[in-house]
């Protein structure tokens, strides 16, 4: 078990180190001069130009040796300083991210957990039931092959514009101010629903087929055959197979997190939902490199933390890892 976590920590630290380095290196080594790009963008506002020029020179300044720039980057990072946004000048990048995060959590956590539960149940139910396997599971494959934004667009168009049931932009009504009133909460939920459903459906398809494939192997495992040979009812055999098949699904969740997050980003773009994804699009369109960098690092850190939590959950649910026998396959 110590080895298992030792390995994980090496991976996490290396990943974090690598990500920060990439984040630092890209604007410095990519073709073109980011400072000039930025300055052309803000050229219309003379009062900020001088200020920003000084600021950028300090960050990208050629007078400081490269290694010092690198170290300064790390120091700033540990002080929670990801720079200042150009788009929202003079707001700090961290402040923008922190404002967006609650929306992401609100959207992602229920979508992941509910789809994980429902998808696995459904996949297990469909496996080895011939007609379901042949009719409903292809649907699962199609769902997991659906581009997130497309499903979002379809839902926004059909339920939002054509049917007019749900709003399709923002996190709450434009005429409302955040407050703890019923009107506001209702508006929040209304705006939340479509992005949630479009994420949920795609994730659901993925879990369902994943479970279907896993449980078939478990149902063919020796322990399943032994139970059947002793005349145990189908329900017990399936229960065991399900419990064992869910373990690789948990690992799957850890590995899929990156994809899951990407899905959330584009879905937020479709629905102009003010999470990180929305800000990334804004940052890209306005060439706000500090905001892009900040969002990138933030996503990395979040994914690593989520991964770590999943690892711990895995160790708790699988006795084999606890006993240190299969810890090697990090």
């Amino acid at each position: 078990m110590r080895r298992y976590f030792g390995r994980k920590i090496v991976v996490y630290l290396s990943t974090f180190f690598l990500a920060v380095t990439i984040d630092w290196a890209i604007p410095r080594f990519m073709p073109g001069n980011p400072i000039l790009n930025l300055l052309t963008r803000v050229a219309g506002r003379p009062e900020t130009v001088q200020h920003m020029y000084n600021y950028y020179s300090r960050i990208f300044g050629l007078d400081i040796p490269v290694w010092k720039q690198y170290i300064n980057f790390w120091i700033a990072l540990f002080h929670g300083d990801l720079g200042t946004s150009v788009l929202m000048f003079p707001q700090k990048v961290t402040a923008i991210i922190m404002r967006a995060v609650p929306y992401d959590i609100f959207l992602l956590v229920p979508a992941i957990l509910l789809s994980f539960y429902a998808g696995n149940k459904f996949g297990a139910f469909a496996a080895r039931t011939k007609w379901l396997d042949n009719t409903v599971l292809p649907l699962g494959y199609m769902l997991t092959a659906t581009p997130y934004m497309w499903l979002g667009i379809l839902l926004a168009w059909s339920l939002g514009i054509v049917a007019g049931i749900f709003p399709i932009a923002g996190a709450y009504g434009f005429n409302l101010q955040p407050s703890l009133s019923w009107v506001f909460i209702l508006s929040l939920l209304e705006h939340w629903f479509l992005p949630f459903v479009s994420l949920f459906l795609v994730y659901f398809g993925g879990w369902a087929i994943g479970m279907r494939n896993m449980i078939i192997y478990e149902l063919e495992a020796d322990y399943s055959h032994y139970l059947e040979a002793l005349g145990a009812p189908r329900s017990l055999v399936r229960k065991y197979a399900y419990r064992n098949a869910i373990l690789p699904q948990i690992t799957g969740l850890a590995l899929q997190l990156g994809v899951v997050v990407a899905g959330a980003l584009v879905t937020e773009v479709v629905f102009s939902y003010p999470g990180i994804g929305y800000w990334i699009l804004q940052a890209i369109q306005n060439q706000d490199y500090f905001l892009i960098q900040g969002c990138f690092l933030f996503i990395i850190i979040m994914v690593l933390i989520a991964n770590f939590i999943i690892d711990i959950v895995y160790v708790i649910v699988d006795p084999r890892t606890r006993l240190g026998m299969v810890g090697g396959s990090a």
Partner: protein, 316 residues
Amino acid sequence: MLKLDKISKVYSTGTFGGKLLPAVVDVSFDIGEGEVVSLIGESGSGKSTIGKMILRLITISSGKIIFNGIDISTFKKNTLKSYYKEVQGVFQDPFSSYNPIFKADKIFTIIRQEFFPKMKDKEWEEKVDSSLKAVGLNPDQVLNKFPHQLSGGQLQRFLIARALLLDIKFLVADEIISMLDASTRVDVLNLLAELKSRGLSILFITHDLSLGYYISEKAIILYRGSVVEMGNTEKVYSNSLHPYTKMLMASVPRLDKKWEEVEVELKAKQIENTIGCVYYDRCRVPDKDAGCAGSRPPLIKVEQDHFVACKHCMKE
């Protein structure tokens, strides 16, 4: 011709916070020309590890293996190839020894490519035919077939024929008949005995005591990586001294004698005495003492050609 000098193998289980696992500990013995030596042990005793070390398939952690006066770890590309020309191995699972998607002959083709690239087709065919005949196979029946079309016994002989294509002096036979059916076992065993009479040296690795007795003149009993008893086969069998050897002898199911009443060990072999006698935890010799637990007994000569690693057993 082959001499093992205090060889050990330690497996480490990973780079990060790994454990060290000794598989073979200070094993020394030697095999002369035309001699068959049985290496007998239960699963996990390190017997296959020794075979693989001789075949240079795994590295030796410490100690030396000397073949005709040369340390085999010094062999590099070409010298290693000439080593393989003289030393070959056959393994337990006949089906795993063949690449399932190719025909069984592939193992011959490889030999030709690597060792006899210049040989003419005709000459090669004759060579293959004669070595197949030497192992009692009919070339027409076994050539040009896929492994699953041949029986286990045929496959094992086929492998021996492969070794015979080379000019081998030494063969490592690792459990080569344990997966064969009773009816064909003896034939493969007899084939080994025949090769021996032609001057081939064989290390016969087995867990089956009766097989060891049938074919070898020297027996080595291995327990958890250490030699506990070795010597002339008859002496080791009829005058077993080490409590482990005795226990083994009593547990073997025989056809001529019902099982004797001997205490058998049921506990998991988890507890491990790492500094003392390897058998300390399971040993039932009444006068086992702190000395047994504290230091590993060396192999002591009890009679001509008979050694045992237990100081309490010699008195009898």
